[in-house]
Amino acid sequence: MRAGDRLPPLEIPVTRTLIVAGAIASRDYQDVHHDPDLARQKGSPDIFMNILTTNGLVGRYITDHFGPRAQLRRVAIRLGAPNHPGDTMVLTGTVEEVDGDTATVRVVGANGLGEHVTGTVTVRVPA
């Protein structure tokens, strides 16, 4: 674990099922995450992934890589282009800083429209 290390990319097919399952698993019943007609009325071409799902996927990306002993300390994300059904999000990560057993990882999730999510994750990886 060294600054500059790149994590292998993770491809997430953005299916309608993933969007709806993520919304329900996070108890988020905002209509734009499950009802295409109401999403369109609000100016979106289709339903889109909620931020809690994106957050969960970013967390999974980090712990998949660093293993089950890794402890997430902080996840800070910002959303950009929405994740619509039919798209694919590719998560990539770079270790920015290492302090003892704690790393800060810069994460970007890009889809067909651009950058869906950018953020940083602080993770402790006990030796």
Binding site: A25, K42, N50, L57, R60, R74, G86, D87
Partner: protein
């Protein structure tokens, strides 16, 4: 909304007055931290980490906010101040909402059985911002989450309350126009009278498509045309889902069509569902009018 700047300023001052006020007071998680919700979360996320199963399971830390969500029920913990702020925004036309930022810090793992309580404060309300979705205001709240009364994490959340820029009220978008030039004008003249013309080299008789000034086989600049019979088959295809382009309604199939004459042309496969298009599917040429000046050759799929 009134567009006068001083009106914006007065409205923004009213919104700013909510900064620092409580948004949720002594909220109680609808359920204690529990295995079924953890399992549903992990299934949705495709998260197979062993840390989240078994007798020593913890909840995925990124679930922090999920334990505070009301679901389909009302939110008794929400304060009158936060309701007022959202109502002010709703009534001024900013009724749509989208989350933009989330920042979580985890102080201790959550385990099945932990009782969740939380308090939330309105940290900031932005000035009016123009965004792709529409103009609106960013509202940032910070929530302190406790488990069995101990600090378990904090969670900063930013939403955009906006007035949707209605796309549907705009005039219908037109398809892009073809680029017609000296080299391909004859092709488009043919299309206009519903004939799909293929160039033929008059020196070596090789057919060529799309239209080019010279023969790719013998280099001769001399050519005439033959009219396609209209029969063909799908040589290859893609289905367009995203991104959607103006005047196109995804999903739709774009085929590389091999004409009976042997040359290939890219166009839409129409008349069959996009997911029924297959390599080898027979197709028949037809001309479709898309607006008052645009006619295009497309291919009707022939299902067995």
């Amino acid at each position: 909304m009134n567009g006068e700047p001083e009106v914006h300023e007065e409205f923004e001052a009213r919104l700013k007055a909510y900064e620092g006020r409580s948004a949720a007071a002594t909220g109680v998680g609808r359920d204690p931290v529990n295995e079924p919700m953890i399992r549903h979360w992990c299934e949705a996320m495709g998260d197979t980490s062993p840390a989240y199963t078994g007798p020593d399971a913890i909840a995925p830390p990124t679930m922090l906010q999920a334990w505070t969500m009301a679901g389909l029920t009302s939110r008794p913990e929400r304060t009158a101040a936060y309701d007022e702020l959202l109502t002010l925004l709703d009534e001024s036309g900013h009724h749509a909402v989208v989350a933009t930022d989330c920042e979580q810090e985890y102080l201790r793992p959550l385990r099945p059985g932990d009782e969740i309580t939380f308090d939330s404060v309105i940290e900031s309300v932005s000035g009016r911002k123009a965004t792709k979705l529409g103009a609106g205001y960013f509202v940032t709240t910070r929530t302190d989450v406790r488990a069995n009364g101990e600090p378990a994490g904090t969670h900063r959340f930013r939403i955009l309350k906006y007035a949707p820029a209605h796309r549907s009220s705009k005039p219908a978008e037109r398809r892009p126009r073809p680029v017609v030039n000296r080299d391909n004008a004859g092709f488009w003249e043919g299309v206009a009278r519903h004939a799909l013309l293929i160039q033929r080299c008059t020196t070596c008789t090789t057919l060529r498509f799309p239209w080019l000034p010279g023969c790719g086989t013998c280099g001769s600049p001399d050519w005439d045309t033959v009219e396609a019979s209209g029969e063909g088959r799908v040589y290859s295809y893609v289905v367009m889902h995203h991104p959607p382009f103006p005047a196109f309604e995804p999903p739709y199939a774009v085929g590389l069509i091999e004409l009976a004459e042997g040359v290939r042309i890219v166009s839409n496969v129409v008349g069959v569902p996009y997911d029924k298009v297959r390599i080898g599917m027979p197709v028949r040429l037809e001309f479709r009018r898309y607006d008052d000046e645009l006619v295009l050759p497309v291919f009707q799929g022939v299902t067995p």
